[in-house]
């Protein structure tokens, strides 16, 4: 009862102090980072080629185009939505550019702009329908996914009488396109696809958007608690539509990369990829419920995908088993992420 005790108040119990370890555990990309290291060590131990420069170039390649998409899809997922049409949109973009230039003689740059405008419009429609109807984006984009899949195939066949668009390398300005989308950079005797560079740029851009801009805060608010967001003036509808359009832009970029690189595009291009994007984002720590995740995590998820898909080949295994490993990894990653998050949240009390 002395006067000295009055100031001797303990720490405020309303605030749990969060240590460095726990803060680290709460980073969405932690699980994926550990997974990436493990996968690398595993395959590097099995195969010399896997850890050589050309090996690295080889598995970074599939990771790169996937990674660009995964970053966009991760932003969308943090915003609380899915885009099942993201995969076929890459096909739509490439087929549109290809048909316009090779069959209709449209100026290359105009054709690219038209295909960009087209997929952005698709993204807008996806977002607009989701916002206006309040239906799950899963259903809305399942619809656009199927429609686009049919359109891609139907129109390609109608115009070309085949199931692919060829001769993209004969168009005017292909050199420039090749330099931007498909050139290779030689490092240590191995040639690396320029897409890897764009992947890094996309990751940095995505992280910057998410963590350093107010649009990023809006994404978290839109996915985490849209009502709270709306009440404090976050333009939830605009944010949602923008996220779908960002995904569409990424699809256009990746689709263009494909057609420039291959000089042709299959009518079925991109089909089935939409789930792989989501897999990468989820391995990277995105919650299916929105409001939590990271762009870097999605990139690392893509990296794991690339390493596994090529690592299996280098290890001399039958590549047919790849999907099995991918599925197992997805489950493991989700369980690990959930466990880590719960542990970190519980120990916070």
């Amino acid at each position: 009862m002395s006067t000295g005790t009055a100031t001797a108040a303990g720490p405020d119990e309303r605030l749990a102090r969060v240590g460095l370890l726990k803060r680290l555990l709460l980073k969405p990309e932690l699980g994926a980072s550990i997974g990436a290291v493990l996968v690398f060590v595993f395959f590097a131990a099995l195969s010399d080629v896997f850890r050589s420069a050309s090996g690295v170039a080889n598995w970074l390649d599939p990771a790169s185009t996937l990674g660009i998409m995964a970053v966009a899809v991760a932003l969308l997922m943090i915003g609380g939505h899915f885009d099942l049409s993201a995969g076929v949109q890459t096909g739509t973009a490439a087929i549109t550019s290809g048909l316009l230039t090779t069959y209709y003689g449209v100026n290359t740059w105009a054709a690219l702009l038209i295909s960009l405008a087209l997929v952005l419009a698709i993204g807008f429609v996806n977002g607009y329908l989701v916002v206006r109807t309040g239906l799950p984006s899963f259903i809305i984009t399942l619809g656009t996914f199927l429609m686009l899949q049919g359109l891609n195939l139907g129109i390609t066949k109608l115009v070309t009488n085949t199931v692919q668009v060829n001769n993209f390398n004969k168009i005017i300005g292909y050199d420039v396109l090749h330099a931007v989308f498909a050139s290779e950079i030689t490092i240590g005797g191995a040639s690396f696809q320029i897409a890897i560079l764009w992947w890094v740029v996309a990751t940095i851009l995505g992280s910057w958007l998410l963590l350093r801009t107010r649009f990023g805060n809006w994404i978290f608010a839109t996915g985490g608690d849209p009502n709270a967001g709306r009440n404090v003036g976050v333009p939830v509808a605009r944010t949602t539509i923008s996220l779908f359009m960002i995904t569409s832009f990424a699809a256009w970029f990746v689709g263009t990369t494909q057609i420039v690189r291959l000089t042709s595009i299959q009518a079925q291009a991109g089909f089935g990829q939409e789930l792989i994007y989501i897999v990468a984002a989820v391995i990277g720590g995105c919650l299916l419920t929105g409001g939590f995740g990271s762009a870097i995590g999605a990139s690392i998820g893509a990296l794991i995908f690339g390493m596994t898909s090529q690592g299996i080949v280098y290890a001399g295994w039958d590549a047919d088993w790849f999907k099995f490993f991918l599925g197992a990894m997805l489950l493991l990653a989700v369980l690990a992420n959930q466990y880590i998050r719960r542990f970190a949240e519980l120990s916070r009390r």
């Binding site: 969060v18 990023g216 805060n217 409001g291």
Partner: protein
Amino acid sequence: MTGAEQGGGDMTADNDHEVVLRLTDLVKTFPGVRALDGVQLEVRAGEVHCLLGQNGAGKSTLIKVLSGVHRPDSGTVEWLGQPVSFSNPQAAMKAGIATIYQELDLVDDLSVAENVFLGHEPRRLGFVRRGAMAERTRGILGSLGHEEIPARRMVHALQAAGKQVVSMARALSQEARLLIMDEPSAVLAHDEVENLFRIIRRLTARGIAVIYISHRLEEIREIGDRVTVLKDGRTTAANLSAAQTPTSELVSRMTGRTIEYVFPPRPDEPPAREELLRVRDLSRAGEFRDVSLSVAAGEIVGIAGLVGSGRSELLETIYGARRPDTGTVELAGKALRPGSVGSAVRAGMGMAPEERKSQALLLGEPIYRNMTLATFTGLARLGFTNARRERAESDRIAGSLDLRPLDVRRPVGTLSGGNQQKVVVGRWLLGDTRLLLLDEPTRGVDVGARAELYRVIRRLAAEGVGVLLVSSEVPEVLGLSDRVLVMREGRVVHQAPSTELDEDTVLDLVMAGSLMEGAPA
């Protein structure tokens, strides 16, 4: 001022403060309901104006009109001397009216500073100025007396009280001149309410007006300056003195009849009551330890304790929703399978959880479906449900509970809080429930509906049902229970017949731990 009376009280002291908000004859109708039917309200700068009324009196609608969610059909809203009409929440916020809802509108995975400035982030060249944002957040938190909350901490790392402070900081970041607080104390433990009041006093000292909504009269007396009472969407009394108006008058303005905040009388104790529930040495790490208790048939046992004392966790463990580390639960001499709700329900246990909206009700489903949920199997024939029989059974219960509106086909989500709670309790009346567990049965329930709930609970006991109830309101535990257990930090620290206890004693026991903490004995 028609229909509303000018109260006496210490009005003269407030007269030098300008009127910031004046509502005249505000009307708002929804299909089938006249939610606001002529509301008058006058709020002055720097006062705490309390809004009192039963659930369904129109308080929520009024808040939503003021915060720009709804637009009134007729009547005027005068804000700072100008007639205004807010088309959306942002417009109201820009004008200086901030609302802190019961469900705090915060985004868990953003930091404190990001939440405070969400929607109006300071920017430069596309970048959020994080430094400036954190700095200003620190300044605002400091002005609220809470500089200890780190501006960059993720909001989900804060407890409810901390989150509430962040909500208030957000209001201040937008230079709010009127703060509407909807039952702010509902999420707080007893000692945290004092802190809330300290913050409110700081705000009013700066000339900010506060509209304070609460069901707890003692809070209104402590923090309020003036009181406006709503009933059926109408102002029945305006500008009463919060400190001096007698409780009976406030209650009669709310109800239209003079009812006391009364508990049904306890029956004379029967000579021997059969023991119903027996809990032995129940423990769960970090939640509660070595809890033993018993409830007899027809007995009401109340557990008093603060939020975080382990009382809700204990109840959920007895019910089987959590699995105990050690200890046993027996109902009528039969041991229950630990961690199995099914086993508990089959043995005759029923539970009305604290979060009735998220844990106990299907808000979109009709009342009868919600009532029959627990006894589905009993009402189903060959795997088919019989909607007619469900409705008939529910009708009977609804009538005996005085449910309003008395139409069991309505979705539960359209009922007021008190009536929703009746549905949750009523559900167990349908089956052969022998022991009812009630977690904060009157949370968010108005005075009138409370008295009805108390009567229902007492009647159940008279029929031989054992009741184990948890409440953070000491008068409720004392008034309703036959026997009281006091829990603190996961342990039962005292138990006695409620007639041998008084409010001060229990409050002392309940809070002793938290008050002493950090100070040497």
